[in-house]
Amino acid sequence: MSTQAEVPFTFVLPQEKAPKPKAIVIAGLVKENPTLKMVLGCCPTLAVTTAAPNGLGLGLATALVLTMSNFVISLLRNVIPDKVRIPSYIVIIAGFVTIIMYVLKAYFPALDKSLGIYIPLIVANCILLARAEMFASKFGPFSSALDGLAMGIGFTIALFSIATVREILGNGTWFGIPLTPHFFSPAVLLILPPGGFLAFGIVMVIMNYLTRGKVGGDVACATCNPDDGHCAPDSILGGKK
C-alpha cells in the first residue's frame, strides 16, 4: 500500500477544479453509470432485483449513503492522513449505512425485511469506495455530494429497471399489483437466482450492442484495487501477459 500510494492517481490530470455540475450529473446517470457502464456493485444488482420495490428501495438507500459519505469524506479530505485513508473511508461509509439500516427498521420495516442482509452489505458495495477514492478525496464537498447523488440515482435507475422487468415477467406483477392477463403464466425462472444472471446478461448485451463495444470490458469491481484506485494488472485478468 505504501509504495503504491505514492504514485499519484492518473485518472484526473493535475487540475484542481471539479467538473461542472452538468458534467457530474451526466457522468453519473449515463456516461459512467456505475451498473451499466462500469459494472460495479453487481451483487445487489442481481440479488434484490426480484421485485420493483426492492430494487428501488436498495437503489435509493445506496444513493443516500453515497451522497452523505461523499460529502463527509470530501470535508475531511485534508484532515485524513494518506496512510489511514481507506480504513477511514470504510468507517464513515459503514456509519452512514448503519444509520440508514436503523431508520429503515423503524419506519419502513417491510422494506427492511425484504432487503435483509443487503442493507448492511451496502458497505461492501465497491461503488462507494470507488467514488470516495476517485472523486470525494479530490474535490469539494458540494461537487462530491452531487457526484454521489448522480451516481446513486444512476445505480437506482439500473436496479429499478432490471427489477421491473424481472417482476413483471417473472411474477406477473409490478409493485405487487397483478398486471398480466390470466392466460399468461409468468416465467418464474426470472425471479429465481438463475434469472438474476439471465436478466442482467440480457441488459449487458443490449448495452454492448448500443455502445458497439465492450461495456466495462472485463473490468468489474473485483479488479479495482481499493488501495490505490487502480485496476489490477493484466496478469490477474488473464488477458494480456
Binding site: 451483487c43 444472471f197 439471465l198 449487458m204 472485463d218 484495487n225 489490477a232 490477474i236
Partner: protein, 200 residues
Amino acid sequence: MSELGTIVGQILITMLSAILVENLVLSRFLGMCPFLGVTQKTSTAAGMGVAVAAVLMIVAALAWIVNVTLLVPNNLEFLQTMSYILIIAAVVQFLETVLRKFIPPLYKALGIYLPLITTNCAVLGIPLINTQRGYDFGMTLVYTLGAGLGFAMALVLFSGVRERMAKSDVPASLQGVSGALFAATLVSMSFFGFQGLFAK
C-alpha cells in the same frame, strides 16, 4: 453415541448446505465481483477462491469473538457492521504484510488477490449471516468453511466454462461480462437443483 451421531450429522448438513444449497455466489449472489472479474483463467480463479476462503475463516472467527465478548455484553450491536468491516480491512492488511515478509512464495501466489478482498461482499456477508442466525463458535467455523469452499468451487467450475468459451466464436455483443452472465445462468440453474437436497 447417538448424540455424537447427531452432532456429526448436523456438521455435515450445515457444511454441505453451505457449499451446495446456499452457494454463496450462485444462490446468494455474494462475491459476484470476483466471480465475474477473475474467472478467465482457472489458475487465477483457484487463487482467488483459496485467498477468499482463508480470509473468510479468520474474519468470521474474529467477528464472532468481537461480537460475543465486546459488542453484545455492552449493548453495542449497532457497531456490528462497522467493526466487521474494520476487522476485514485489518486482517487483509496484516496478512499482506506478514506474507510478504515471512512467506514470500505464498505472497507471490495469493498476495495480489488480498487487496481486492476488502470490498468483497461475501467476506462481510458471512459474518453478518453467522450473527443473524446466532451460530455458536463451532457452527460459525463449520458454516464459514462450507461457504468458503462453495465460493472457491463456484469460481473454479465457472472458470472452466469461461476457458472453453474463450476458444469459441462468440458474437461481439456477447463477449466479456455479458457472455459470462449467460454462462453463469446455466451454472446457477444446475446448482438450483440442489435446493431440495435437505428439505423433508
